[in-house]
């Protein structure tokens, strides 16, 4: 397995964000991570990507302990966070080049061009990011998350704000990454259509605990994905 989470606990003062979280993700999964607002999805991703520490529990990413070897984990993973800001004074090429350097990746102009082409931003290399639309910035952010060719890619609401064509392009990109390159994808989203189209396994989190997990096809046998979600989370607020 590529991710192993055991008894993960995270508290913010008196508030318990994660209350003994347990789940695993296998190599090659497109893993859907669902839950209502405030369930603990973003906190989970931040712990798995070694941005924040947990109060207790164990997390292994490709055999590396996230708390003891954060830099090793960061070398093989990457993420597109929900609130991704950009260095708007940079061009797209400068932005990707900067992050590539931080990952120790040598990228030529051709490499950058190909990366941008993947998300339909070819021809925009020398444009300032401040001139990009929201959707274009989103796509650039996803490309940034691919700059180190990660084994494990975390995506937090990657298709928010995209038009239907944009969403479809991202779906195709993720499927391609997964099938052609074997990238494991950890997808946190509210959009159940995205989950249905992309994911083979899901976990549903509520009040900091996994309430449902397993293969999507098997779970769908018992109802639609909406039914599964609302039943699992009871309130079912999105």
């Amino acid at each position: 397995m590529i991710i192993s989470v055991e008894n993960l606990v995270k508290k913010y003062g008196d508030y318990t964000a994660l209350d003994g979280l347990n789940f695993t993700v296998e190599h090659g999964d497109i893993f859907g991570f669902l839950g209502p607002n405030g369930a603990g999805k973003t906190t989970t991703i931040r712990i798995l990507t070694a941005i924040i520490k947990a109060d207790s529990g164990n997390v292994l990413i490709e055999g590396h302990n996230v708390f003891k070897e954060p830099l090793e984990v960061k070398k093989i993973t990457n993420a597109f966070p929900e609130s991704n800001g950009y260095y708007e004074w940079m061009t797209a090429r400068e932005y990707l080049g900067f992050f590539a350097n931080l990952y120790g990746e040598k990228t030529s102009k051709q490499d950058i061009y190909e990366l941008l082409e993947v998300v339909g931003l070819h021809g925009k290399e020398e444009h300032l990011i401040r001139s990009f639309s929201r959707g274009m910035k989103q796509r650039l952010g996803i490309v940034r998350a691919l700059v180190n060719k990660p084994k494990l890619l975390f995506l937090d609401e990657p298709t928010n704000g995209l038009d239907p064509k944009g969403r479809r392009d991202i779906h195709d990109l993720l499927i391609n990454l997964n099938r052609k390159h074997g990238t494991t994808i950890f997808l946190s989203t509210h959009l159940l259509d995205d989950v249905e189209r992309l994911c083979n396994r899901i976990a549903i989190i509520n009040y900091g605990k996994i309430v449902r997990a397993g293969e999507l096809d098997r779970m769908k046998g018992k109802g639609t994905i909406e039914d599964i979600f609302f039943l699992s989370t009871k309130e079912g607020t999105l």
């Binding site: 941005i51 090793e72 960061k74 993420a79 800001g85 260095y87 992050f99 931080l102």
Partner: protein, 249 residues
């Protein structure tokens, strides 16, 4: 190496920009006005050369400290508010390396201010016997002060996570540090003035400039003050390290 990339990005973001350059043009214009005033105005021009040099050195140091505080306040809080810090934390770069890169950019800014001020120092201090030694002390102590105040401001920025609040506190610290300038010679001789002078690294630096440039005193007289400044240097770097290591999104 990654520190260098961070530093390069910071320099390009803050210094090698039209806005960044505007700061330097304004600095240069103020120094031009000061130098011209000192050298041509009827009463000011007849100040002792050493006095003129000393006053310009104080202004340059104060400017370096102020810009260090402003840059420092933006270092982490600004990135959090702009939403860019998370992507930086996702990359395999140690938080200490990020802090070092940002500190490097602040020092680069100080280096530019120092380089801009050199021609003015040479013109105002022309013929003054302590010109070169004064410039050497300005280079060293000015650098130390730039590190002290910007490291402190960056640490504050990492802890408070609000650029507005860390700027306010940084300005307050700047006023406290600059208090010796506002006190008269008599007030500085009171117990309060003496304590302020003793514990204040900025006061330590300007008193050193006074002793070296105006009174021609050697290093042995400055050793105590320089030691205190070095102590603050270590303290501020420790504060920055602690603050950044605890920083979480």
């Amino acid at each position: 190496m990654k520190t260098a990339y961070i530093m390069q990005k910071e320099i390009r973001e803050s210094i090698l920009t039209p806005k960044g350059f505007l700061w330097y043009i304004i600095t240069s214009m103020i120094l031009s006005a000061l130098s011209y005033l000192f050298l041509t105005n009827s009463e000011l021009s007849l100040l002792d050369q050493g006095q003129m040099l000393y006053r310009i050195m104080n202004f340059i140091t104060a400017l370096g400290v102020l810009m260090g505080l402003v840059f420092g306040a933006d270092a982490f809080a600004g990135e959090i508010e702009r939403g860019t810090l998370e992507a930086l934390f996702l990359s395999p770069v140690d938080k200490g390396e990020i802090a070092l890169g940002k500190l490097g950019a602040v020092l680069t800014n100080w280096g530019i201010i120092f380089a801009i001020s050199l021609p003015y120092l040479f013109v105002v201090g022309k013929g003054e016997q302590n010109l070169l030694i004064g410039i050497a002390y300005l280079a060293i102590l000015g650098t130390f002060l730039a590190i002290i105040f910007s490291a402190f401001s960056m640490g504050l920025s990492a802890r408070i996570k609000s650029m507005k609040n860390s700027l306010i506190i940084s300005f307050f610290v700047f006023l406290l540090a600059g208090a010796p300038i506002f006190l008269s010679a008599a007030q500085r001789r009171t117990w309060f003035g003496r304590i302020l002078d003793f514990i204040n690294p900025f006061a330590g630096a300007i008193n050193t400039f006074d002793n070296v440039v105006i009174d021609s005193q050697g290093f042995s007289y400055q050793a105590g003050r320089v030691a205190i400044i070095c102590g603050y240097l270590l303290l501020s770097l420790w504060f920055l390290k602690r603050s950044v290591s605890r920083l979480e999104m």
